[in-house]
Symmetry: C2
Amino acid sequence: MSDPCCPQVYLLSDGTGITAETLARSLFTQFPDLAPAWHRLPFVQTAGRLAAVFSRVESGPQPALVVATLANADLRAELRHCPVPVVDVFGEHVERLEAVLGTPSQSVSGRAHGIGDHQRYDRRIEALNYTLEHDDGIATQDLSVADVVLLGASRSGKTPTSLYLAMNYGLFAANYPLVPEDLARDGIAHMPRPLRGLGRRLVGLTIAPQRLAQIREGRRPGSRYASLAQCRAECAAIQEFYETWRIPQLDITELSIEEIATRVRARLEGER
Amino acid sequence: MSDPCCPQVYLLSDGTGITAETLARSLFTQFPDLAPAWHRLPFVQTAGRLAAVFSRVESGPQPALVVATLANADLRAELRHCPVPVVDVFGEHVERLEAVLGTPSQSVSGRAHGIGDHQRYDRRIEALNYTLEHDDGIATQDLSVADVVLLGASRSGKTPTSLYLAMNYGLFAANYPLVPEDLARDGIAHMPRPLRGLGRRLVGLTIAPQRLAQIREGRRPGSRYASLAQCRAECAAIQEFYETWRIPQLDITELSIEEIATRVRARLEGER
């Protein structure tokens, strides 16, 4: 039951535990040789439930570790009874912030990922609806209200990135597939109508043809669509389109959705 | 330029800064009277860029505070030159983890939200594709491979929750709108074909009719679809459907997407 390479990590929270999981996964990237077993314990909001958690942790495999984001200060005080080491995230940082900000904190459970700020929450849902309705050029008539419009080849990450930007940041993120007519040599002199006037809100995703072929192969094995020749031709035509229209480019070949989204957002903020 | 109620919070990272932002926003929920101004500084990967950040922070409005998630230990050492208070997230926790785990950390920048574990990343993208293809009952033929199928009235949060589960947890999350035929009194004796055999993978979302009417009103003002009478009738019929088929219910009236997703996930993990 005991394997030092596979620590049991309990993500303990009086809310969703999203902050605990985000932080713990981040920290464990610094220990690449360890393969932690993750245990999520969200919505632990009473001393009784916390005591039950401690029993479970104690009787489970070892080594074990608790990463706790308990907003409630009374509950946090109970962490001293925890039978295994604890990373008490709020305990450590909230006190620090109180000192720095010169303001006492107000300990209330489970606020971080609740509806919280209604205006901000509603905007995220609205943005997500907008993004779903403007995915892959489904609707192009009101791109003018978009915060950002991603361009790129099919399967270059436009849709996941748009959804991420909408869901997490409340950005009205649309995406537009560049179809052959947009890219045809004698048509390139004309900017596609839906994209006119969007200026710096356009971001042109690029991707290495080899990587694009690999992704498409996973979707439609052996197809012309997934062939390296086809991917090369599309990437070249798209590149030319970006250059003609001076659309800022972002190479996503080695980037995750989160990294693409962060770079897109940084550019939009830089434009303001 | 100085407003103690509006501290300037710089989210400094050598990666995306997602961990820094998640943690900082969580911590500031404990200071509801403050209205922090957020400044994102992702991908700061050299001592030179860090020094530029320090100048910017120093010359900007005060009070200011840096929340740093620098994975690189050399860069982290530079934080001692920061002209304003720093919450050094990795510094504090990584050392603690080293002691607890008895293993030295390996400091490499920007790993937390990169592609990282390819298998896990690819699964998330696959899950997102699946979810988009199985949103709102678009495709019902292969619900059998779903990890979870959310049921509920139109605008009860099925789509955003499915997308969240797929994007963040790599769950194949489908959703199925209960149409009038599914709910017709003489049809209720028959489980809709696509849902048969899914057992505990079905989750029935419920919502207070008043809240549903309010959400729908935002989408289609003054419509029959948004009327309280219509919402009441649908919610009652759906409730009856869940009870007939003993589908576990989840009331989402006061929950955020993150909270719904966490509860759904906890149930699935409880079933294993």
